[in-house]
């Protein structure tokens, strides 16, 4: 049961419906960071960064919502997404993505954990300044979203297939202007 009296919606949707004034910039940020196509990182790659950080933060709702979205965009099944969460260096994702995920993992621990060597490594594999910027901000933003969801003890559907089934619709509607109650 959530810590405060929220509309009966799963995960972040409860607090977003409760406080639309903060929901608006939270969703606008997600839209620019994760879905805006004016970006050299694909939607799938950006959702994968969000998924990975959410799994490090042990946030069930976020890692399943964003894992399903990443799977939808990248054409990965749930096992392939789980493999990235569990041990991304041994998966078939690009070397550049591995470098970016390693930066994201450091951000999850704390901003100062990111090293010059990690940044240089990502650059050598072709990452641009803006890709590094967005990776850091996506990872940082999920350190917020995850804490928001779990800090208020929201509930989440436990059947992981639920998230997979809804991902195409979520991808289509985006993070801005959708109906929280649908």
């Amino acid at each position: 049961m959530p810590h405060i009296n929220l509309p009966n919606l799963p995960g972040i949707r409860g607090p977003m419906a409760y406080r639309p004034e903060t929901a608006k910039p939270l969703n606008a940020l997600a839209e620019v960071l994760l879905r805006d196509d004016n970006n050299t990182l694909s939607r799938g790659e950006r959702e994968l960064i969000g998924t990975y950080v959410s799994s490090l933060n042990d946030c069930f709702f976020c890692q399943n919502v964003h894992g399903a979205l990443a799977g939808h965009y990248l054409n990965y099944d749930i096992n392939a997404i789980d493999a990235v969460k569990k041990d991304f260096p041994s998966t078939a994702i690009s070397e550049k993505m591995k470098a970016l995920l390693s930066i994201a993992a450091s951000v999850q621990q704390g901003g100062k954990f990111v090293t010059r060597q990690q940044i240089e490594g990502a650059r050598q594999l072709g990452a641009t300044d803006r890709e590094i910027h967005d990776t850091v901000l996506i990872a940082a933003a999920f350190c917020m979203y995850n804490r928001y969801v779990d800090g208020l003890a929201t509930w989440a559907p436990q059947d992981r297939q639920f998230y997979v089934d809804r991902a195409p619709q979520r991808a289509e509607e985006g993070y801005v202007g959708f109906d929280l109650f649908k």
Binding site: A28, D58, I103, V114, R147, G151
Partner: protein, 190 residues
């Protein structure tokens, strides 16, 4: 020096925002609602929560920036701000704010660290659902802002006398686009 070339010399998060205005927009909007709303918690209380969480995250730029903004609202009581920053349990602040700071410090560790007892204690001292909601989201948001600033090694002025002019700008004009425009307030040379 920042990890990326931001093409400007603005301090802290301002330099990052100037580099990427598309994400700066919603970040500023979020800060404006969370830190300047007068609905329930006061702007001073909101900034004190932000200051404490930034201190726990060891983000020098953020805890000094928001500490100075809190100080501005508190008519220059820097001693109180410093006490809340480092040891709020012994600060001269209401028990309700202490209970909310405890929730915020648990959010800083991770969402699941917030306990039923934390919530019950805040309620006992008069916190409303909205106070608790805003406290959790302010603390969570600073776990983002702090990581954004330090994760990209943003320019951090070491000279504390440079913080009050920027704090005054925010306290008087809010978290609008002006905070990352090219023209910035500077300390008066005495």
């Amino acid at each position: 020096m920042p990890h990326i070339n931001v093409n400007n010399s603005l301090a802290g998060i301002r330099g990052l925002m100037n580099f990427r205005p598309e994400t700066a927009g919603p970040l500023c909007d979020l800060a404006e609602v969370l830190l300047r709303s007068k609905d329930g918690l006061t702007p001073a209380e909101r900034e004190l929560i932000a200051t404490h969480v930034s201190y726990l995250n060891d983000c020098f730029y953020c805890h000094n920036s928001h500490g100075e903004i809190a100080c501005y609202y508190l008519k220059g009581d820097r001693e109180l701000v410093d006490q809340v920053r480092k040891d709020y349990q012994h600060a001269e602040v209401p028990d309700k704010l202490k209970a909310l700071l405890q929730i915020a410090s648990h959010v800083q560790q991770g969402g699941k660290f917030v306990t039923e007892e934390d919530i019950a204690n805040a309620r006992k001292h008069g916190a409303t659902d909205k106070d608790i909601h805003d406290t959790v989201l302010i603390a969570a948001a600073f776990c983002m802002f702090n990581r954004y600033v330090d994760g990209l090694a943003a320019t951090t002025p070491a000279d504390l006398s440079t913080y009050p002019p920027r704090a005054k700008q925010v306290a008087e004009n809010g978290y609008g686009n002006h905070i990352f425009s090219a023209k910035q307030p500077v300390a008066k040379i005495v």
